[in-house]
């Protein structure tokens, strides 16, 4: 069972629909007890980084951490990816999961924000998340803050400089773009995650 964590950060219907389309056994939940039994966890999220505060308040953060420690695959999408980092300038007082010590920052002032639309990926070799997704593939982004390129970055994109489009470290994965809105390429990524 894949737990799609609902922490009132935006609309989840597209994520659930994409997973249903792939035949995945996915459950949208706000309940840490459901997360505690999940075989995989997806943390979506659009909107403000401050919404992640709810994860702490509801016990979802510890439920997720416990599962991650047991090797359960985790995929953070959009704000979900940013939460994997230490923090975001969008809400500096709220700690992320801290898997990567860097923080997320605004786009520079000389480009329009949010970064909205289809941009291309520069993909590293050997990523399980991106298997079958070649460099140059287009995916759909919509965000005002971005995560820097780190050792765990497996795909980069370019807008006002390079930033992390996807990260992968062991069983922990993140996508800044929206796989559920990125056509066939996005579905392939979700299929790769579901198939782990």
């Amino acid at each position: 069972m894949i737990a799609v964590v609902d922490y009132r950060a935006g609309n989840l219907t597209s994520v659930k629909k994409a997973l249903d389309h792939l035949g995945a056994d996915a459950v949208v939940t706000q309940d840490p007890k459901v997360v505690a039994k999940a075989g995989k966890i997806i943390l979506p999220g659009v909107g403000h980084f401050s919404a992640t505060m709810i994860l702490e308040q509801t016990g979802l953060r510890s439920a997720i951490l416990h599962r991650i420690e047991r090797g359960v695959p985790f995929l953070g999408v959009c704000v979900g990816l940013q939460w994997m980092f230490d923090s975001s300038d969008e809400a500096p007082a709220i700690p992320g999961l801290g898997l990567f010590p860097e923080k997320c920052e605004r786009f520079p002032a000389d480009v329009k924000s949010p970064h909205v639309g289809w941009n291309s990926l520069t993909c590293d070799q050997g990523s399980r998340l991106l298997r079958g997704i070649p460099s140059g593939s287009f995916v759909y982004f919509t965000h005002s803050y971005r995560a820097p390129v780190v050792k765990a970055t497996v795909a980069r994109s370019e807008y006002g400089g390079e930033f992390s489009a996807a990260v992968e470290q062991g069983h922990l994965f993140g996508a800044q773009f929206h796989p559920e809105k990125s056509g066939a390429i996005g579905l392939k990524l979700l299929e790769n995650f579901c198939g782990l």
Binding site: N11, T13, S14, P114, G117, N119, S120, F141, K181
Partner: protein, 255 residues
């Protein structure tokens, strides 16, 4: 790099896609879910469903249409037309819309922009502005109610306020060019694009490939919306994207 988006717009009423010029002589153009899927297959970067029912009283029909259409799409899906409240927006989001577009209701009460953006994020809120040139000037007035009622508001100032209130994008329609197929209003588009820091989607007047090239270059549009040119076999979406790429405009192609 970020590409320019070509957004297909379907006007719907009573659960069917319709086409007509300036709301006259509406012709049935087909099933929304099928057409949306066909546009996505052909290369549309996003799909917009616009409810043009005269009175918007049949919300249940719209919600059902949204749900059926959303099932077919794995690209961004926006719904607009007659959304007047947070509750109505919620019903549309629950049915599967990724973004909503608001026009008259936002002008009447700009706090609606903020209340939807607070709940769903700014990127889910598009403010649509219908603008008409004021004779002999580089000034534009915002219209509401399907472009029929002048408001006395300056369209550029309104776009800036919409941004301040939390809009994620502006959908800018030129009333002068809409339905003509003779080209977008690049002057209007550029002025608004330079006045706000959020993306601007140009609408109204899209015709040949050159008209799109111009609205992206001279008009500084981030995206362009077109409807009538894609219906009734008037234009092939894939041809447009291929030609835009050949003209040096960054687009998602092939896809």
């Amino acid at each position: 790099m970020l590409t320019k988006r070509i957004i297909a717009c379907l006007d719907v009423t009573g659960g069917r896609v319709v086409k007509g010029v300036k709301f006259q002589q509406l012709r049935d153009a087909g099933d929304p879910a099928e057409l949306a899927a066909a546009h996505s297959e052909a290369g549309a970067d996003e799909v917009v469903l616009l409810d043009i029912s005269a009175t918007h009283e049949k919300r249940a029909t719209l919600v059902d249409t949204v749900r059926r259409t959303a099932q077919q799409l794995f690209i961004p899906f926006t719904v607009g037309g007659g959304i007047r409240s947070l509750d109505e927006a919620m019903a549309v989001f629950d049915a599967g819309a990724d973004k909503i577009s608001i026009n008259s209701a936002a002008l009447a009460d700009p706090s609606l922009i903020t209340s939807i953006a607070d709940r769903y994020g700014s990127q889910a809120v598009i403010v649509a502005i219908d603008a008409k040139r004021i004779d002999g000037q580089e000034k534009f007035e915002a219209y509401v109610h399907g472009g029929r009622t002048p408001t006395g508001h300056d369209a550029v100032a309104w776009a800036q306020e919409a941004e301040r209130r939390g809009a994620g994008e502006i959908l800018l329609t030129s009333m002068d060019c809409d339905g003509t197929g003779a080209g977008f209003d690049c002057g209007l588009t550029r002025i608004v694009s330079e006045a706000v820091n959020i993306p601007v989607i140009a609408s109204g007047g899209g015709g040949d490939t050159q008209s799109f090239v111009e609205v992206f270059q001279r008009g500084r549009a981030d995206a362009a919306l077109a409807a009538s040119i894609f219906h009734f076999g008037l234009r092939h979406l894939a041809d447009l994207k291929r030609e835009l790429q050949a003209a040096g405009i960054p687009v998602r192609w092939p896809c």
